[in-house]
């Protein structure tokens, strides 16, 4: 029973398209995150939501829009995809805004923009 699940696992799309990545957690956590792992393998936070409210919004192009319909879901919508958006996107959740017990990550979505 997957704790943090992301769909799709792989996504190949053309430049200029709009796509969404979905994330769901069944851990009862209050906080969810989106991280991007770039070509240099750095994991960088993009957004954080606590109980459906945006609490962290790093310097991310406004083509990226997170949506949290409830505290168990955090989806990522990307408009006008660019080649540089190609990366692995990880969703994560934690128990509270101070994640003293570590985040639980999904298995990632590999986005390739061609």
């Amino acid at each position: 029973d997957t704790a943090v699940s992301q769909t799709p696992k792989y996504l190949v799309t053309q430049m200029g398209n709009d796509k969404s990545i979905k994330c769901e957690q069944n851990l009862g956590h209050d906080t969810m995150y989106w991280y991007k792992q770039d070509s240099k393998k750095f994991l960088k936070i993009m957004f954080s939501y606590n109980n459906k409210e945006l609490i962290i919004n790093e310097t991310v192009p406004n083509r990226f829009s997170p949506k949290s319909p409830d505290k168990a879901h955090l989806n990522l919508h990307i408009n006008s995809l660019e080649l540089g958006d190609s990366a692995v996107y990880f969703c994560a959740s934690s128990d509270g805004t101070r994640a003293n017990y570590g985040y639980t990550f999904g298995s990632g979505t590999r986005l390739t923009v061609v």
Binding site: Y35, L43, I45, F90, A99, S107, G108
Partner: protein
Amino acid sequence: DQQVKQNSPSLSVQEGRISILNCDYTNSMFDYFLWYKKYPAEGPTFLISISSIKDKNEDGRFTVFLNKSAKHLSLHIVPSQPGDSAVYFCAAMDDKVIFGPGTSLSVIP
């Protein structure tokens, strides 16, 4: 501007020996540190953590050491096993988790 650094991209260790993975950080306000392990095509999994008020935390074969004055932490794995082969991310917390670039550990049977 990397706040969390792992200067060794890779490390090879013989099975049964000790693996030592190193991490340096720049922000003295970090008060909590974590290590994550990642296998290919999977998300990172939490391994062990340490609060800045401690200098050592041990969990089975895994021990994390923190040297606040040097802004340095290390993860020791002993004895190393082939299943430990993975990428290890050091991370630090302020209001979010900030990850280092990772060290790829290969444990050779």
